[in-house]
């Protein structure tokens, strides 16, 4: 038993490493799609690798007024994203994963919790504002993610992601499946700080949410935060492909489709008023509730 677990754990970790290697590429593809749709040339799809490398090589500046949390948070954020990547059943045959869906959700919540803590650590007003907004949004996102997972756990009688994925049938297209697909995509945008909820490209500190929390980080810590963010969106797109997109194509294509869709949606939308985010999230939650009832 222990041997089996060790072997499977190895496979899971291998998968997380592979995902980590490809995560910046997915971010690069999203950026390229956005640039092209705005009739711009755009940076190479490999640009994010260079950016990560650039931050990694740069000096790191730490103010003497911050505590250990400030240094720990980016590491925890990265590690939680990495663990989440290991938990998502995906590429590797056998589709094994450890931990159940609830662990998955709260591993990601742990990373976010530490990021908001560190946003207040440097005591700048932008960080505090970003942290407060992040909590406001995550309060709405968390129940939505739980509901989205519950749909599949009701259908497939399992609370492990592996159990759901093994039983997932792309041919099964129902009202509930379509609603869940749309709602989960909305959740992806909110959870990963994309438009229309947050603007990942802005330099306007007063409007920032996720970026506001990371303003004081630099060098390797910043590099880890970005890598964690790229990995997180890939994790969500993988989950989207594996459990919510009712189309019978290979998972890799589904992830690509998801990435392009994120880019397209970001071009079509502008950022909504901060207090309208709750309307957006409630819409997603209601769709998920209807999906559960239809199930």
């Amino acid at each position: 038993m222990i041997e089996l677990l060790a072997e499977n754990l190895g496979i899971s970790l291998l998968q997380a490493v592979i995902m980590l290697l490809f995560a910046p590429l997915i971010a690069g593809i999203i950026n390229k799609v956005k640039a092209q749709l705005n009739k711009r040339q755009g940076a190479s799809i490999f640009q994010e690798y260079f950016d990560i490398l650039k931050w990694w090589r740069k000096d790191m500046i730490l103010t003497p007024y911050t505590s250990i949390i400030f240094v720990l948070a980016p590491i925890i954020y990265f590690v939680t994203s990495f663990v989440a990547a290991a938990m998502v059943p995906g590429f590797i045959e056998g589709r094994f994963s450890f931990g159940d869906a609830f662990v998955f959700v709260y591993v990601l919540a742990l990373g976010r919790f530490f990021m908001t803590l560190s946003s207040m650590d440097a005591a700048t007003s932008f960080g505090g504002m970003g942290g407060a907004r992040e909590i406001y949004i995550s309060v709405l996102v968390e129940p939505a993610v739980m509901l989205a997972i519950m749909i599949n756990s009701i259908r497939y009688h399992s609370t492990t992601l592996a159990g759901m994925v093994i039983n997932y049938d792309t041919a099964y297209v129902s009202v509930s499946a379509v609603l869940a697909c749309v709602a989960f995509f909305m959740v992806i945008l909110a959870e990963n700080s994309r438009l229309p909820v947050d603007n990942p490209d802005t330099h306007l500190e007063l409007t920032m949410i996720h970026e506001g929390m990371t303003l004081e980080h630099s060098g390797r810590l910043l590099s880890l935060i970005h890598l964690g963010s790229f990995l997180k969106i890939l994790v969500f797109l993988t989950l989207f492909g594996a459990l919510y997109l009712p189309v019978n194509i290979p998972l890799v294509l589904k992830i690509l489709f998801g990435a392009i869709a994120v880019g397209v949606v970001e071009v079509l939308n502008n950022k909504m008023r901060l207090f309208k985010v709750r309307v957006y999230m409630v819409a997603a939650i209601v769709m998920l509730l209807v999906a559960i009832i239809a199930e």
Binding site: H203, L206, T207, M272, R273
Partner: protein
């Protein structure tokens, strides 16, 4: 028309002039005439729109008397900044002014240093350390958000202090004038031709407006008649500058909400218009064309054809942009009812340009005064009612339509103009005069005084951003702080224009 009065009479005169609201305060500035034995003076310039002229009230201080006067800010709110600036520059104290903090010279300047007094040499090295208290609201649960003076974008310096209750902005205090360049001091003693090159560089976005106002002031002082063709070219350049600015601003406003396709389209159109400017003037900022007495370059038939072609393209692009704005419901949701300036506020602050006209205050120097060839053009200025971000956006779109029509008419006039002289002969001697021109941001006012040798004794330059900045701090009240960049961009005020 200049009326001289004593400091004691200023309050009553201002009250009389401002009573019916028909005489907005255009500018107020000091002058040091102690060398000629007169003493310090303050010029108050009120617009007389009914008679299309300026009423200049000159307050003369007794050389041996007290350097103080009763502030007119309580009755003419628009005077608030001017009185503070006069105090910084000349040390004339406005008694009863509600805000006696320095305006231009911050804490790094010494007390008792008044740079525009003639006794201060141009190369004087001023170092000091005085108090500058930024305004904040106090109370349980309130907090402050300091922003700037260094910003994340490539923009000029300005410090904003928000007093917040959660996301809601209770109060905003703006500390500007960080890069005061002493331009008004620098041009003293220079000939108008020498000064022109400095005046042209007050601001990169309004070179034509600044140069034209300056030239008008000098020409009025010397009673120079500008050839007709030069007047047409000047008017044409002014409208070109407006197109560049408005198109750029239309592309900039969606950047406040991350509306990417509109940002790209606006940027593309602005570049097309800017390249046209390069073809017309030989540089992208339209510098070096307008000079005292006329213009230095002709607009050739080939250029006329090119202007027509580019303007047709830009005009079509603006319509696309307008459709993009109209169809994007979530964008409309962001701009409607955000950042409201009421009509009363606009009139009280004597606001100018887009800011004034978006709030229902039809304040436009093109129709209020005679200059250029505006009187011969067939147009009607656009006015909006709601005073929010949406109104300022719509105002720019409507004004662009007006400008495109004006440019077409001007090109026809240029083709029909038989008189080919571009510049009148100019000699400079004693005199004083004012000039006004409607820049993309509003009226740009210059006042020039020349001495016996025809050198500048005093130049006062007030760009359009000056009266509109205080309105920004009022417009944000009641909105939430993530909406500030959008509100700020809808005014698109210039820092360099006030850092002169």
């Amino acid at each position: 028309m200049i009326t001289s009065i004593t400091p004691e009479a200023l309050h009553d005169t201002a009250e009389m002039l401002s009573a019916n609201g028909r005489h907005p305060l255009t500018a107020m500035f000091g002058r040091d005439e102690t060398e000629s034995g007169v003493g310090y003076t303050i010029y108050c310039v009120f617009e007389n729109i009914d008679e299309r002229r300026m009423d200049v009230v000159k307050v003369v201080f007794d050389p041996n008397g007290h350097l103080e006067y009763d502030s007119i800010t309580p009755i003419v709110p628009a005077a608030a900044w001017y009185e503070r600036e006069i105090r910084d520059m000349f040390g004339l104290d406005p008694k009863g002014h509600p805000d006696k903090r320095p305006l231009v010279l911050h804490e790094s300047f010494p007390e008792g240093f008044y740079p525009l007094r003639k006794v201060i040499p141009k190369n004087y090295n001023a170092r000091g350390n005085r108090d500058f208290k930024i305004r904040t609201a106090k109370g349980e649960g309130l907090f402050e958000v300091p922003v700037g003076p260094i910003h994340a974008g490539i923009i000029e310096p300005g410090h904003f202090r928000f007093s917040q209750a959660g996301e809601a902005m209770l109060q905003l205090d703006a500390k500007l004038f960080f890069t005061h360049r002493g331009i008004e001091k620098a041009v003293e003693g220079k000939t108008p031709y020498e000064a022109m090159h400095i005046v042209e560089r007050i601001c990169g976005a309004c070179s034509i407006a600044n140069t034209w106002s300056f030239c008008q002031a000098v020409e009025m002082a010397q009673e120079i008649k500008v050839p007709r063709k030069a007047e047409i070219i000047r008017t044409l350049l002014m409208e070109l500058e407006r197109v560049v600015n408005h198109v750029g601003d239309l592309g900039n406003m969606p950047a406040g909400v991350g509306f990417n396709p509109a940002i790209s389209l606006g940027g593309r159109l602005k570049e097309q218009a800017t390249r046209l400017c390069e073809a017309v003037a030989g540089n992208r900022f339209l510098r070096g064309v307008i000079v005292p007495g006329g213009v230095r370059q002709d607009v050739t038939p080939e250029l006329i054809a090119k202007i027509r072609e580019v303007m047709t393209g830009v005009s079509a692009g603006v319509m696309d942009l307008k459709d993009m704005f109209d169809e994007q419901e979530s964008f409309q949701n962001r701009i409607n009812t955000t950042g409201i300036v009421r009509r009363k506020t606009a009139i009280d602050l004597a606001m100018v340009g887009v800011g004034a006209r978006a709030s229902g205050f039809a304040h436009d120097s093109r129709q209020d005064f005679d200059y250029g060839v505006y009187r011969e053009l067939d147009y009607k200025i656009a006015v909006q009612e709601t005073g929010d971000v949406a109104a300022r956006l719509q105002e720019r779109i409507d004004e662009l339509a007006v400008s495109f029509r004006m440019i077409e008419q001007l090109l026809v006039m240029l083709e029909e103009c038989k008189d080919n002289s571009l510049k009148a002969d100019v000699t400079f001697g004693k005199g004083e005069g004012w000039g006004i021109s409607e820049s993309a941001r509003g009226s740009n006012f210059h006042y020039a005084v020349l001495d016996e040798e025809g050198r500048i004794d005093r130049l006062f330059a007030r760009s359009a951003s000056y009266p509109n900045w205080p309105a920004l701090t009022i417009a944000v009240q009641g909105d939430i702080i993530p909406d500030f960049p959008l509100i700020n961009k809808s005014f698109e005020l210039c820092y360099a224009c006030i850092d002169r």
